[in-house]
């Protein structure tokens, strides 16, 4: 053995490491794609949109999907009869697979046709006749595949065959067929099937004629068949008719509604009402399919512009063009400014523009943000961590991009969301609730003290608009400007709202009988309880802020932190006192917000969405009058009265309507926010060549620091080797 084997071994090791690094570098350098490109190099100039998702979608079955992370996918796949116009505001319903937006026909209890402008009270039934376009075909799917004898190939599969299958792609043959009115009716029947847990089942039971009975009937039939056969049977819903839904011919069907319910049209623009082929239902219902994870929840089958070609929600989900798509064209008209903003450049061109959309799982915001800046995602939201890097706020609160973003050609789009966040007071509570003057004044005092302007500034980076009532901007019934200001909480200064001073709030508290936050009768301090969701480090600052708002009035606030589920339990029991909650619009109608304060929707009494359990007979009467009206000046008057009532009673401290900030790169086009439509992927256009060029420009590999580091490591071995040599020699002496 030589005298320096250890040192020479170490040097050799570093040399080998250097070799590996160089080899990896050379391998990576073989292509012209940036080394940090997370996608295959051959996709660099392809017309593919890259985006992400942070949580696995729970349900992709349109009967059950109801959250935005699920609609991100299924709204591109399933096509209900109607959709929202991409560009026009206020939001307008237009046909998607229907030939036209259906008009309701009204009937009295005797079945006589009523005029269209009849008083709602006289309407016993409404009928909607929907005609769908011919020639709409489903995406290729094995459920449609037939053999030479005309029989479906995969409808009576043997257990062994199913055992050998892992994904839908393992079925070699696929086919398609035309979507018919029967498929739309089939899906409505599925909504009634209790086993499928549709969130709309309860609501639709109150509207569609025969829906509730059908639901019960199906349960009975299923249980009887299961008892008889001992296995979970397939129910072919075509065999069981629902009274209120009828197939008129191959392309027409009719829905019969109890009374008047114009909001049905909005629901017809959601995937709940998309067509479902019975073949797919049967295919997925075969015994053993569920065990192989082959279900409608995992593999959608639709008629839309895209189809889900890869569903690996632990890694990636891919939407590719549906080769059978019936075709649609980009809108030729929009609202003012759309042409100037280039949003009509593609007018009349066939949709969709992109070939594929790849969604990668990205659980953390930091890697996502870095990849967006490197050009590997086409658009991005802005997390609080990245806000200061991306956006600067001017003196008037206007948001502009930072120089760094401007230099990268990144564009910013902002839009006030059709959502309302509020602090709710449990109106059943003897201290904070009640419609008496004491309760009103106490709640109004708190509403003034809780400074949501400050909240938006601290916790939302200024991304929000303080709410003046329950109806958010963009929804009929919302009042702009001075007319929309809540005079109970705000003064009007130069036509703009200015929150009343804390002294005024204290004065209200005195009137309520709690001077300085103490009960004037007992002298006891006023102690209130706030039901908080989450108590982690992220929530602490927010909860401290809420405590401080109450301290301004001398009120002692006890925070009872819990998780969201338990919080919901408390709300259902009506045991919470003060809480914060929010609501996102299902559709652009004030009914969808005002019903949150409708007495019969009380959460504690009826499990509805009125979490404050507010019950004012006058408000309820006005709601009943307003809910079925078409948008008109008369409706606006009623809404104004309702908003005035809730401002006076203050069951909520109106919080804010969040403002969405979205960034996108210069190669990403037609990025107009549409808060109602979910099927907007088809309108997006890319410039892949520009993206490729920018990615290469922004991501040149920098190797020298690695080489320097390796050299330093190698050099550091030299003194060690010298010491080693000296030691060895001294040992030899």
């Amino acid at each position: 053995m030589s005298s320096m084997p250890l040192a020479s071994n170490t040097i050799k090791l570093f040399a080998q490491l250097g070799g590996v690094v160089t080899l990896v570098s050379l391998l990576a350098a073989c292509g012209d794609a940036p080394w940090n490109n997370p996608y295959p190099a051959e996709e660099s100039d392809k017309n593919i949109l890259y985006s992400s998702f942070s949580e696995r979608p729970k349900h992709l079955d349109p009967v059950r999907s109801y959250s935005s992370n699920e609609y991100l996918f299924i709204a591109q796949i399933y096509e209900p009869p109607l959709q929202y116009h991409f560009l026009k505001r206020p939001y307008e319903l237009i046909p998607l697979t229907a030939t036209e937006v259906p008009r309701a026909r009204y009937f009295d209890a005797a079945g006589a046709l009523l005029p269209s402008d009849v008083d709602s009270a006289r309407v016993a039934y409404s009928e909607y006749e929907i005609t769908i376009q011919p020639g709409i075909r489903y995406q290729p799917h094995p459920a449609f595949a037939r053999g030479a004898d005309g029989r479906h190939l995969y409808h009576e599969l043997a257990a062994e065959y199913i055992e050998s299958v892992n994904t839908l792609a393992d079925f070699p043959k696929t086919s398609t067929r035309e979507a018919t009115a029967e498929d739309y009716v089939y899906q409505i029947k599925r909504l009634a099937d209790a086993r499928l847990h549709s969130p709309l089942r309860g609501m639709l039971s109150g509207y569609i004629v025969g829906f509730a009975d059908y639901s019960k009937r199906l349960e009975g039939i299923y249980d009887a068949l299961k008892k008889q056969t001992g296995t979970a049977p397939f129910l072919d819903l075509r065999r069981y008719e629902m009274e209120g839904v009828e197939v008129l011919d191959r392309y027409r069907y009719r829905i019969r509604i109890k009374g008047k319910y114009p909001q049905l049209l909005y629901w017809l623009a959601m995937p709940f009402f998309a067509p479902m082929p019975w073949e797919a239902d049967l295919f997925y219902s075969q015994p053993g399919m569920k065990k192989r994870n082959i279900t409608l929840n995992w593999y959608p089958v639709g008629t839309g512009p895209f189809m889900l070609t890869e569903n690996n929600p632990n890694l990636r989900m891919t939407l590719a063009r549906n080769p059978n798509f019936h075709g649609e064209r980009y809108p030729v008209e929009g609202e003012m400014g759309d042409r100037a903003n280039g949003l009509l450049d593609d007018a009349g061109r066939p949709l969709p523009f992109i070939e594929k959309a790849v969604y990668s799982l990205e659980r953390e915001s930091i890697p996502y943000w870095n990849k967006f800046l490197q050009g590997f995602y086409d658009a991005s939201g802005i997390s609080s961590d990245s806000f200061d890097q991306a956006v600067q706020l001017g003196n008037q609160g206007e948001a502009t991009l930072t120089d760094e973003m401007e230099q990268q050609g990144i564009k910013l789009i902002t839009a006030v969301q059709t959502s309302s966040f509020y602090m709710g007071f449990n109106m059943r509570d003897p201290v904070i609730g009640g419609l008496d003057e004491r309760g009103r004044l106490l709640r109004r005092a708190i509403s003034i003290a809780v400074d949501y302007e400050e909240y938006i500034s601290i916790f939302n980076n200024g991304r929000g608009v303080p709410a003046q009532g329950p109806v958010p901007p963009g929804i009929f019934g919302f009042r702009e400007g001075e007319a929309g200001i809540n005079r109970y909480l705000y003064d009007v200064v130069n036509g703009k709202p200015k929150r009343k001073s804390i002294d005024e709030a204290r004065a209200l508290l005195v009137q309520a009988g709690y001077p300085g936050g103490q009960d004037k009768n007992t002298g006891e301090p006023l102690v209130l309880h706030y039901e908080a969701v989450g108590s982690g480090p992220d929530d602490k600052a927010r909860l401290n802020w809420i405590l401080k708002q109450f301290q301004k009035l001398g009120i002692q606030l006890v925070i009872r932190a819990t998780d969201y589920n338990r919080f919901q339990g408390k709300m259902l029991k009506g045991t919470g006192q003060i809480f914060s909650w929010g609501w996102n619009a299902d559709y652009p109608d004030p009914e969808n917000f005002l019903f949150l304060l409708y007495g019969p929707n009380s959460k504690a009494h009826n499990g509805g969405e009125n979490a404050a359990n507010y019950s004012n007979p006058e408000f309820d009467r006005l709601f009943d009058q307003m809910k079925n009206m078409d948008n008109s000046p008369e409706r606006q008057v009623i809404i104004d009265k309702m908003v005035e009532l809730v401002r006076k009673d203050a069951p909520w401290a109106f919080g804010f309507h969040p403002k969405g900030f979205t960034l996108h790169h210069a190669w990403y086009h037609n990025a107009k926010p549409n808060l109602m439509a979910n099927n907007t992927l088809k309108y997006k256009r890319l410039d892949p060549q520009l993206r490729k060029q920018k990615r290469a420009e922004w991501n040149p590999p920098v190797v020298w620091p690695v080489l320097v580091l390796l050299m330093l490591l190698a050099l550091s071995v030299i003194p060690a080797a010298i010491v080693h040599r000296q030691r060895e020699r001294s040992a030899a002496r």
Binding site: M1, P5, L6, T10, L13, V24, A28, W35, N36, N37, P38, P40, R56, K58, R64, Y66, S67, A194, R195, H197, P199, L200, R201, G202, K290, K291, R292, N293, T295, N312, N314, L315, S360, L361, E362, R363, E364, I366, P367, N370, K371, L373, Q374, F376, N565, R566, Q568, G569, E609, N699, P700, V702, P705, V706, A720, V723, H724, R727, E728, A731
Partner: protein, 325 residues
């Protein structure tokens, strides 16, 4: 030895029952079946009867541990605990509360976890042992002193810092590898380089310091003095004698964690978007999917017991004096 292994495996059964009971109690102290139903059914427009139906369909409509309404053994067997636990002991994980086959998901997600854990372990072990031997060689010198200081500094830094710092420097500034992501087959290599490097660097501090202690303990033993007195070079003393004898605690330390490599790393997988078993468990906890939580805890316990048995066996392989009986 066979009798010993069988005996140890049988000892594992009460441990697994205990773990299962504790998991069950802890889970249902925090979540009620109603909570689980609400979580699965969604946040909006969930009717009370839908919650009842979900509970019934998923077997959560029964008493938790004791069924007072039933008689005889059924009072124990007709409960959520019994029905959900018994199949685990047959390694039948069944379906998750959202309907997915848990066994299939585990079989799919263990490979990405292993793809990070195995190279991190092997490379980390090689580097840590090399550094520890070097430090032991230069014991009681400034190299030793400053190396230990560096090790303490490195082991004091949070894993999260290594991850975010690594992503920032290597991916964002130097543009050498993707920030995050994963792919199948050879495509996975470019995504694994950074997490493996970060995993190795993050482990150098504690690993090197631990192995250094082992080597120094061996270096002061009589047989080492004898070897030196025979005129052997320091290299031969270290590599042929010290390393060999220090292998016993090294090996046992490694063998015990080998089965747990399947379980993955939560933070690494989350930040690098790697679809492994670490993120699978945390996703299940967040979604209140009890079926997955109990399966993963059970699997983790089984693997830990397996690791301990393997450790005992490995003793006999590296130290002829040890006999299992």
């Amino acid at each position: 030895m066979m009798a010993y292994i069988v005996r140890r495996a049988l000892y594992g059964i009460p441990i697994l029952i205990g773990v299962n009971v504790i998991t069950f109690m802890l889970f249902f102290v925090v979540n009620s079946p109603e909570d689980m139903a609400r979580m699965h059914l969604g946040m909006k427009r969930v009717a009370p009867e839908a919650i009842q139906k979900w509970k019934q369909e998923h077997g959560y409509d029964k008493p938790l541990l004791y069924n007072a309404a039933a008689s005889g053994t059924e009072s124990l067997t007709d409960t959520i605990f019994f029905e959900k636990s018994i199949k685990l002991f047959q390694f039948e994980f069944g379906s998750s509360d959202s309907g997915r086959d848990i066994g299939y998901d585990i079989s799919q997600r263990m490979w990405p976890s292993l793809a990070i854990a195995v190279p991190t372990l092997i490379v980390g072990l090689a580097i840590n042992i090399t550094f520890a031997l070097l430090i032991a060689f230069f014991r009681a010198t400034y190299i030793d002193y400053w190396s230990v200081v560096l090790c303490v500094v490195m082991m004091s830094i949070s894993a999260l810092f290594y991850i975010i710092g690594g992503q920032y420097v290597v991916s964002k500034l130097l543009h050498l590898v993707p920030v995050s992501g994963y792919d199948t087959g050879l495509g996975a290599v470019k995504f694994l380089i950074l997490p493996v490097i970060i995993g190795v660097i993050g482990g150098i501090g504690s690993g090197t310091r631990w192995y250094r202690t082992l080597f120094l303990e061996e270096i002061n033993k009589d047989y080492v003095r004898t070897a030196r007195s025979k005129g052997l070079s320091e290299n031969r003393v270290l590599f042929q004698h010290v390393l060999k004898n220090a292998m016993i605690p090294i090996l046992t330390g490694v063998v015990v964690i080998l089965p747990l490599l399947f379980m993955g790393s939560l933070i690494t997988e989350n930040f690098f978007g790697i679809p492994g078993l670490g993120s699978y468990t945390i996703e299940a906890i967040n979604r209140q999917d009890f079926a997955i939580v109990r399966s993963m805890v059970f699997l983790g316990s089984v693997l830990y017991i397996l690791g301990l048995i393997l450790t005992d066996i490995s003793y006999t392989l590296v130290d002829p004096r040890v006999r299992l009986s």
